[in-house]
């Protein structure tokens, strides 16, 4: 059978080109790999090599021809043992290379992942609502967020030998913020691993270990330094499950303090909540209380996906009641009504809750009964709990430390526009960090962060008081 040589596409965007030069003439022998022609594409002049061996029987498109469509027959090759002169010259035309199309017309919307959380009843001013995921009658122990995180890791490491923790100063130093205190003593240096200061490298190394089936907990001394590693987090950890058609994933946790600390200036004070929550393939958890820190970190370690677990240095030392249960695991992707109310919905997460809770108390004194939702997870986002609340209150204010543009608050406002427009009695307002790099000076730093007064003012604005 004679072999047709077609006009090749030599770039992702090329549709036609100029056959500038033939380097073989009719009757010439060609071997695979021989350059047979030069073709000018939309980007460059390229050489075309023969794939098959044989004798050039016919050149169908003369050199110098412009606008030769991709896939046009440009020459015919007689295979070994065939008579080149006998090969007929078929007309040069461009058959369409059509890829078969899958039948259904359009992709279906991804179903909402999280079920709405049950709304606690009986609004009592400023009393914190019980977590419906904690059984009634449970005893609570006052614990710092720092201890709760450590306990979560220790419990999971006892439970599963594939879980290990690595990061800068996590072992012998006992943690830069003492979150890993005591882990080296209990689990040894095989499982509590001090790394060099190479975030990109160890985030990639841990991701490789996760692809092999281990369950790493990567501690970033702070998330500011994770920007060095963000390529591995997003391009390797978050995307491999999809790119592999479900064959391989990265069951791991990236955790550490996130957001502004105090007086450490612009490079060390930044909230990455909205950055990571943008990425399909990641889960993003931002706990506020010690109980949530513990229950959600245990869930994150068990989760088969890469989980970004954003802690906060200022919260590490704060005490909260943590349930005394043998195995306390909370569901990822579920917001919690921190305090029920009827006049306005305040939505916050992480350190933002410190402003929100104080504002709720102040508002109660002024006769405004606010419902406060702690999102706890930013991806998958439990927007249903927010919508249910707004259906009741008709008003929403969001509170976070991150920058205003493309913030979590911006996203919630947009979701409420789409899904609860008819229930809104006022525009959604967001209280955020100011749109500036974090200044060092104490007075300026204070101004750059949100404050309780701004939350109260926003609530008054949406309740028209």
């Amino acid at each position: 059978m004679p072999i047709d040589i077609l006009m090749p596409a030599l770039s992702p965007t090329m549709e036609e080109g100029t056959l500038s030069k033939w380097l073989k003439k009719e009757g010439d022998q060609v071997k695979s790999g021989d350059v047979i022609a030069e073709i000018e594409t939309d980007k460059a002049t390229m050489e075309v090599e023969a794939v098959d061996e044989g004798t050039i029987a016919k050149l169908l498109v003369p050199e110098g021809t412009e606008n030769v469509k991709v896939n046009t027959k440009i020459a015919v090759l007689a295979a070994e043992g065939e008579d080149a002169s006998a090969v007929s010259s078929a007309p040069a035309e461009a058959p369409k290379a059509e890829a078969p199309k899958a039948d259904a017309p359009a992709a279906a919307e991804k179903p909402a992942e999280a079920a709405p959380a049950p709304v606690a009843a009986a609004p009592i001013a400023v009393q914190v609502a019980a977590d419906p995921d904690i059984p009634a009658g449970t005893t609570f122990v006052s614990t710092t967020v720092r201890e709760a995180l450590r306990d979560a890791m220790a419990e999971e490491m006892r439970r599963d030998g594939d879980v290990f923790v690595m990061g800068e100063e996590v072992a012998e130093y006992q943690g830069a913020y003492k979150v890993t205190q005591g882990l080296l003593q209990e689990f040894g240096a095989d499982r509590v691993i001090d790394t060099p200061i190479t975030e990109h490298g160890f985030a990639g190394l841990a991701t490789g270990a996760a692809l092999a089936g281990l369950k790493p907990i990567v501690e970033f001394m702070t998330f500011n330094f994770a920007m060095q590693a963000i390529d591995q987090i997003i391009n390797s950890a978050a995307k491999t499950l999809y790119m592999s058609g479900g064959q391989l994933g990265a069951p791991m946790v990236f955790r550490g303090p996130n957001g502004a600390a105090a007086r450490v200036a612009a490079q060390h004070s930044q909230d990455f909540s909205s950055w990571y929550s943008h990425i399909p393939g990641l889960k993003v958890v931002v706990p506020y209380t010690a109980a949530d820190a513990k229950g959600l970190l245990k869930a994150a370690i068990r989760d088969p996906n890469p989980v970004i677990f954003l802690e906060n240095e200022i919260l590490y030392g704060q005490h909260f009641d943590v349930p005394q249960l043998d195995d306390f695991v909370l569901p990822i992707g579920k917001a919690r009504i921190h305090k029920p109310g009827k006049d306005v919905t305040i939505v916050s997460f992480g350190i933002g809750m410190t402003y929100a809770t104080k504002a709720v108390a102040e508002l109660a004194e002024q006769g405004i009964d606010a419902e406060l939702i702690d999102l706890r997870t930013l991806r998958p986002l439990d927007i249903d709990t927010v919508i249910e609340s707004v259906k009741k209150t008709g008003r929403c204010v969001t509170v976070e430390e991150g920058w205003p543009q493309n913030s979590i608050g911006s996203h919630i406002a947009s979701e409420l526009m789409e899904k609860a427009f008819d229930y809104l009695d006022a525009p959604v307002l967001k209280v955020t960090g100011k749109d500036v790099p974090m200044p060092y000076a104490a007075n300026l730093e204070k101004l750059a962060l949100p404050n309780v007064g701004e939350v109260v003012a926003a609530v008054k604005a949406v309740t028209y008081r």
């Binding site: 030599l10 490789g208 790119m243 592999s244």
Partner: protein, 352 residues
């Protein structure tokens, strides 16, 4: 767990065996003669890769393969020789985006690879990865990565998992002369040597990082020496001679299996085609390409030895060629007729 016996990551671990100052580039390992079976295996595997890649290039030209497509033609001896040095299905392999040859020699099915190139449901990633992103847990092939140098830390992590699990598997981590200048490569070298991880870093030096020649991009052009400041031994290998690759691979893999840490092999090789399908390769002379093809072609070298030793006749080799072409043609056929992924696949495998 006993703290005192822990080794990985412990700052108090004894420094025995670290002779950073004394390490020099290892002497090149001499190529050893192959048996008839080895020559025939090498011939067939290399030919399969070459014919597969030629077909892929042709199908790209027909618009059946989209996006980026990086062909491996010219470099075949590297992956085939290294595969002969490892335990298939146990030792891991990871590489960058010029990955078709690595997959085929690992034993991945040509149909599945070609169907991934055409973006069809029978592809290794069900059409969702493409040329640069394929994986096989069964064959211990971990991709297929598109960010230059990204696979180096990942491969170091695969080796870390071997250490953690206390098995003696080794991870082959391939990257190019271009990736060798990325920062995370040295972060990985440091950790691999610090923790004595079983990883062979195989630098496929094909002389050009896309269009920038080694001499224009690299202060230290001897890549085998790139690990010296970490005390990682390295050697230069004639990457066009499958026997030299296999011999060096044996040595490096044995080093890793023995728990001595990482090893660097610089494979001096050459790609005949452009960086990708849209690269006209104007940065090098035709004579240079032609010289490599005529004087150093990895397949021709084996072919000549087979003929010279009387281990195969012209007809025997033609038969192998025909068999290989059939595999490739079947793959091309399958990859064109297999349907595109169902539209529901858009929403699958995002999270588990």
């Amino acid at each position: 767990m006993a703290v005192a016996k822990a080794k990985v990551g412990s700052k108090s671990a004894p420094a025995a065996g670290r002779k950073t100052a004394a390490v020099k580039s290892a002497k090149p390992t001499a190529a050893e003669n192959f048996s008839k079976e080895q020559e025939l295996y090498g011939y067939r595997e290399m030919l399969l890769i070459r014919r597969f890649e030629e077909k892929a290039g042709q199908m790209y030209g027909m618009g059946l393969i989209g996006g980026f497509c990086h062909l491996y033609i010219g470099q075949e001896a590297v992956v085939v020789g290294m595969q002969m040095a490892i335990r298939t299905g146990e030792d891991q392999t990871i590489t960058g985006y010029r990955d078709h040859g690595h997959m085929l020699v690992a034993g991945m099915d040509a149909n599945g690879v070609m169907a991934e190139l055409t973006g069809r449901r029978g592809g290794y990633s069900r059409g969702k990865g493409g040329s640069m992103h394929m994986f096989s847990r069964e064959k211990q092939f971990f991709g297929g990565h598109g960010i230059v140098g990204g696979q180096v830390s990942l491969g170091t992590g695969l080796a870390f998992a071997n250490r953690y699990r206390k098995n003696d598997n080794v991870c082959l981590t391939y990257f190019g002369d271009g990736a060798a200048n990325q920062g995370q490569v040295y972060e990985s070298f440091n950790m691999a040597q610090l923790w004595k991880l079983p990883v062979v870093y195989i630098i496929e030096n094909n002389r050009y990082a896309m269009g920038t020649s080694v001499s224009r991009s690299s202060a230290q052009t001897d890549f085998s020496r790139r690990g010296l400041s970490f005390g990682i031994p390295g050697e230069k290998v004639d990457g066009m001679d499958i026997r030299a690759v296999k011999a060096a691979g044996d040595k490096a893999v044995a080093w890793c299996r023995a728990g001595k840490g990482p090893y660097i092999l610089e494979m001096e090789t050459y790609r005949y085609r452009g960086h990708s399908m849209s690269d006209p390769a104007k940065y090098r002379s035709k004579d240079e390409v032609q010289k490599m093809r005529t004087e150093h072609d990895p397949i021709e070298q084996v072919r000549a030895r087979l003929m010279e030793k009387g281990w195969a006749t012209e007809d025997d080799l033609k038969k192998i060629d025909a068999e290989v072409r059939e595999v490739v043609n079947n793959a091309a056929e399958f990859a064109q007729n297999d349907p595109e992924p169902d539209v529901s696949e858009l929403w699958t495998d995002i999270v588990k």
